[in-house]
Symmetry: D2
Subunit: 348 residues, 4 copies
């Protein structure tokens, strides 16, 4: 198979770096272009980036030039790690010019004609693309993925919502520092501290989680409408969001049924054997003290969500804790998997 | 007023150190004895302790000898920071011999004739002491305080339970490392991590919080019986437990009524102007990103609970985040305040 | 004694906050004005500041307005926590208008007519003020203090240089995050990491340490000329710089003589009993594992330097480790003590 | 080639875990046995271990039983991660019974007939094995590697000592928490802190570094005799020791010559292309702020030492900072590479 040419938009940030790391040696995609902003345009990528991942910038990428996001890009597929304003400015223009944009930005997530795609969960939502192309007159497209917190929450909620129906949920998150990008959280706010607030996050998680779990009614996504209460906190962890979840399931299934449902969960990426797909989207652990960021964030190359401590909840019915890598499955990896799915399904 | 002689039992641990720090220069109490175990017995306290607080061991204390807990102790009031097994072994014996034991240990907290005292909240529970003395034939007494997580939770819940009635609550904690004593949590488990489990803690918090909010019916405490679901986590914070709380209040009061109720809360310690009492047991902040451990754990010398982000909860009604110092108000400071209250009320 | 009116310039940063904290309730100084820049001008201080210290903004200060640094300031003494460029722009102008500026900024530290004052060490350098006023035609003055790393190094080196003579020194620092101000070091660079580089710091430490230890020859300071090699590192510590020091002393004194010299050290602030002076500028500890930031940075209210592990050095002669609070004695506290000294000595 | 059977002694600790991780899928070695102590003996390894590495226990290993170290071990080659006392008790006995023991323990490192082998540096020292077998009457052998700090120091010093000659060195270390094994450093000592002391470490580094750089005179190793002064510190880093080094080289080579010498360094493992050998033992970086633990500890799979900031030292001549992974190249990886070298050279 000939590799598809891909670009990374906003390549110097933490999510941009993850894209580059995931695309190095990708069997289907060939990274041919990188974009950035301001004074990084025109520089070697290796000089422009404050690289934050353990391994060096992949061979060949360091020497690529940083291009402006509004210039010509010789890549059909664009992975967007653009900050909000730049995404608002450029993504639609790129889709209009024929690019397929897989974006982490929040701008278009809640648009009626933009699929908020979670590859294992809501493939039918891609039908929104027909409406998108028709109404907007685009030859390309925009496919969004949810924010890091919503993605991992949805991976755990999806089999339960499908299997039982979720009536309500109360969630508290303990989110990693890398989710705030770079420079992000000042160390004086992070060290020996918890910040019990992330601007706009709680509303986003509720809206996105419900859209992903919603159904395509032929012309639009009908959100799942699950009442959810979310408390978002920033903790002193580099990577990996932890979330405690208390919820009410229809029929009040036993803890073992809940665990079995999570363990049995598979989606299209697993059926198709997509290159970036985890073997199981949800890993359920039985140890009393798992998942933990240092031990579980890299599970299945950071593409799986790990659930632990599934047990009864005296108030809402059942509760557990989940953990997932926020910049891999929670961002860049989700986009790459979405693109793989659309390629495999011949949607693009 | 002549100072009352006091001892600290289990003086070398983290809570023992807090006792010593709080008792230095106390206007009513004079520290005259320290006990320890094993090889620390017989040593100078300054040599036996691995002191972990910022200021040095208070003048005079460093040279005090570490006594065995089962030997004679020339102090009417004993503050106990004993570990569970030692508490089980020694506290009753001391009460029998006439000492008034104010204990942080969990052993006797749920005993029917032991007041689980939170000075602002349930002073009437001290009437259990009459039963305790009568049934056990003790000349002394045991008064317990709750665990660190329950104490701060109860300080915030008490005015709401009294003012409105609490129907149910879902709580997630992010607890400090000092709560696990010393050596406690290994640094390899703490750094860049969250541990979503603290053995036995969730059950303890629920039981204790309900006992404290319960009522004395003349012969026993009737627990409040509020269904509570608690998720306990350990985070990379030295001192200060953070708790997110979602709850249902009878009558569904507005957010402003909830805040007003918390702000208006005062108890006997405030009325009596006890030396260790905070000006207000609960401080309510309006900033979007407070409370935070580094900024708020030392509020009112670590004796107050700080509540922030009071807002509507779409699932349960109202939610907020609270924070308090776990080894001051959550442990040693609670005991000292309890002792002050019983002295002021002439109960001991 | 009537209190002298003082202002804090650049009051919203980390050092500005320390000034405010140290001046609250100061017996000689009354804080009457605060300045800031950009959009903070005109705001209430409490609204403009991202307060980072444990206790709240002192009563009365939160409501003070933030003034522009270039407007009229009704305070004879100005404590400057201005960033470099603002210091370059404003400090000389203020001195010209009659203010006595005690500055933490680096701009004027190495000027020939500006005393780089370390209150215990080089009071004779204040004679530079005569030249400063004469040559610059100022009615006010500028007195600088060294950078945080140099101050603590000089406190330990001064008695040794005076008592024995220092021939050379090799120093490695492990510096706290608060030294980089706010927002300063991004948490992704700080967590689980060491950054072995602080721009410009190594050169500054060498130059400043030598100027402070130098002698006033009647018209200028002759630097001490001690060859020093410094490695600067940033570590995951909130406050408190740790420095390992290996050095050669003339006459090769024994370890005990070195310790005795450090312990015997007293300066003018101690003789005069200045309000902010530590009892001893240098505390020598004998434990094998001290000093440590969490245990020793607040020694004597953060105004002392703690030295430990004094022992033989097979290469250079003697070695030890020192630690001091970087924003108290290493910055704001040094300025306040300098001002106290000049007031007590009737220099201003 | 038929794989050689290997065992890991003391397999449950942090270094034991690294051995298991490095031996999973090793092309020459097949892990057939694990030993442990106390109550872990007889358990499944997966149950006995508190696994601390990101990926799970390798497939197949979790189900292996933990054997006693003093029972029969069906493996010619034994990698020892035993604690000191257990090493003293068992290693010689195993060598006597014919096993080739590659040990991280310190017990035998300084024995005259035990090679303290650093694969790139002192292969000739293996001739000590003849004396070892002859004098001790062993059919097996003991080969030690240095401690984590000494190994990385020696990798950087070896080419300089060979190329120029080292006259003296002053070193300050900032060592990772994993070097203290598990549970190791309590989190209350690690968080927001530096501990400027590691018991016995400074002496060990000096002695071992000099033995490794020494020469085999036909019957014994003559240590290099370089005067070295070492300050050891523990910092809040999970993995990766950072060391600042100031040294005097014979002939005072220019900085560029020093860098060229480090960059040109290759040893037998590189010539032989051993499976675990890094491409280059020393990586020299030119950025002003490297190496850093989070970015460089995993360089070349954690088997290389990274050197940065090579520059003039006004006191000693030249200085730089180095960093290496303490449990990979600094421990388990060093042993595995030593074993590969002896197998390739047909010494065992």
């Amino acid at each position: 198979m000939k590799k598809r040419k891909v670009a990374v938009l906003g390549a110097t940030g933490t999510v941009g770096q993850r894209f580059i790391s995931l695309l190095a040696g990708h069997p289907w995609f060939e990274l041919v272009a990188l974009t950035g902003s301001g004074r990084s345009v025109g520089q070697r990528y290796g000089d422009a980036v404050h690289w934050l991942l353990p391994a060096d910038v992949p061979e060949g990428v360091a020497d690529m030039p940083v291009l402006p996001t509004d210039g010509p890009i010789d890549a059909e597929i664009c992975f967007s790690a653009l900050p909000t304003e730049a995404a608002a400015e450029h993504e639609a223009a790129l889709a209009k010019r024929g690019h397929h944009v897989f974006t982490n930005a929040s701008v278009h997530r809640m648009d009626g004609d933009v699929p908020l795609l979670l590859a294992e969960v809501n493939f039918p939502h891609v039908r929104a693309l027909e409406r998108q192309r028709r109404e907007r007159g685009w030859s390309g497209s925009i496919v969004a993925n949810g924010n890091c917190t919503a993605i991992h929450l949805d991976l755990a909620l999806a089999p339960l919502h499908r299997g039982f129906g979720i009536e309500r949920a109360v969630v508290t998150t303990m989110q990693a520092l890398s989710g705030a990008s770079y420079p992000g959280v000042p160390s004086l706010d992070a060290l020996d501290n918890v910040v019990p607030y992330i601007g706009g996050e709680e509303e986003k998680v509720v809206a996105e989680a419900n859209k992903v779990l919603g159904t395509w009614d032929g012309s639009a996504v009908v959100p799942a409408g699950i009442p959810m209460s979310v408390h978002c906190n920033r903790v002193t962890v580099r990577d990996g969001h932890t979330e405690t979840v208390s919820l009410t399931l229809r029929g009040a299934p036993a803890v073992d049924e809940v665990k079995a449902s999570l363990r049995a969960f598979r989606g299209r990426p697993q059926e198709l054997g997509l290159p970036t797909a985890p073997a199981r989207p949800v890993i359920v652990r039985d140890e009393p003290d798992r998942p933990q960021p240092v031990l579980d964030r890299d599970a299945d190359k950071g593409m799986a969500t790990t659930v632990g401590r599934v047990r009864e909840d005296v108030v809402l019915g059942v509760k557990f804790v989940l953990l997932g890598h926020n910049t891999i499955r929670g961002a860049a990896g989700a986009s790459v998997l979405n693109a793989e799915l659309l390629v495999a399904e011949r949607c693009i």
